[in-house]
């Protein structure tokens, strides 16, 4: 009685086995790399906005200070979004008829707030505090990216837990003198104190910063 399978069977077997192996490797690799893709993190992704507000123009161009609009960034957990009034302080004088600004004027007229689309967001179980970061010499651009060069605002960093931890475990590289925190085109010079010096100056103790309770309550 002849055998069940023809010689091709062996080749097919090999192909199947190598296929499975390859598939496994691809899957693992994919699972490894996917989270760091901008698709997964939303990093660098621009959200459509009711008013095409340009940080590039206002910050980079006109040189407005971050705090002019994000008033509570130094004292509060949230940086705060500018109320319509803040926009109108200038735009009641200039570009008073610009079509782009119609929603702003309308908001003021009707008392209906402007509904911006969030760019950065954290899960509800993560509690982030802007005030303390600013106070310890973590600059806006460190996390939000080169805001002064963003015609439309995009997400500056992955905001993943591991990303947070990297800095909480070793803050030194990301620190700068407090007074430069809101300076969007600040460069480290020979004169600037090292990260380690800043850590001692601002009493930063990394060993306490990777406590789970720092962010999760």
């Amino acid at each position: 009685m002849a055998g069940v399978f023809s010689p091709t069977a062996n080749i097919v077997t090999k192909l199947v086995l190598y296929g499975l192996l390859g598939g496994l490797v691809t899957l693992a690799g994919g699972a490894w790399f996917f989270p760091s893709t901008t698709y997964a993190t939303g990093e660098g992704i621009v959200q459509p906005q009711p008013v095409p507000f340009s940080h590039e123009h206002h910050v980079g161009g006109l040189g407005l200070d971050c705090r002019y609009c994000h008033t509570s960034v130094e004292v509060s957990a949230t940086a705060g979004l500018p109320p319509t009034h803040t926009c109108m302080t200038c735009h009641s004088q200039i570009w008073t008829n610009a079509g782009l600004l119609a929603p702003v004027r309308q908001s003021l007229a009707t008392g209906k707030p402007i509904r911006w689309n969030r760019v950065n967001t954290l899960p509800d179980y993560v509690f982030f505090n802007h005030g303390i970061h600013v106070a310890k010499g973590v600059a806006c651009t460190t996390c939000h990216g080169p805001v002064d060069r963003m015609p439309l605002t995009w997400k500056g960093a992955s905001l993943r837990m591991s990303w947070c931890l990297d800095c909480h475990r070793d803050p030194a590289p990301n620190l700068r003198p407090k007074e430069a925190v809101f300076d969007t085109d600040w460069k480290r010079t020979a004169a600037t104190p090292s990260g380690e010096q800043l850590m001692t100056r601002y009493h930063i103790h990394p060993e306490t910063l990777s406590d789970c309770s720092v962010c999760h309550r």
Partner: protein
Amino acid sequence: MTAHRGTGHTFRGTLAAFDSPDAMLEALRRLRQEGFTRLEVYSPHAVEEVDDLLGRKPRALPLIVVAAGVLGAVGGFALQYWGMVLSYPLNIGGRPLNSWPAFSTTTFELAALAILLVGFLAFCAFCRLPRLYDPIFDAPGFEHASQERFLIWIAEREGRDDRDLLQRLLPHGEGVRIDEVPA
């Protein structure tokens, strides 16, 4: 022409079938005396003496498996040490970071896991499995090797005609001549 085909026989040769292992062994012994070297036995169950007669000693598998076990253990402990002490050290219930007694069970289990997987893979490799097709399957009567018959494959020796010799050597067994094993 003498290319090995996994099961260690060449294209040409003789397949002898026996009803009892003892007869098979007897024949095998004689064949060895006559200097036949390229032989292979197919049997429905393992027959201890065969290996001695064919002079084959298995060594590799045990060593590989032991090595796998050691690696599994070391790797297993390293993994736990990395996770609990180096990567994210946390004060868990006031226990020491390196709670090695607590890590021991997992270490053992991972060693066992390594042994199981590597052992099986090595086994497949040594037996060249999976191998769904082999010329030997086409040999008439081969299916009996997995039931009740004991077969000896005698590879044809280059430039020699052993027909009479084999007739003489295997008088009781009913030898079967194969001219061509379709490749």
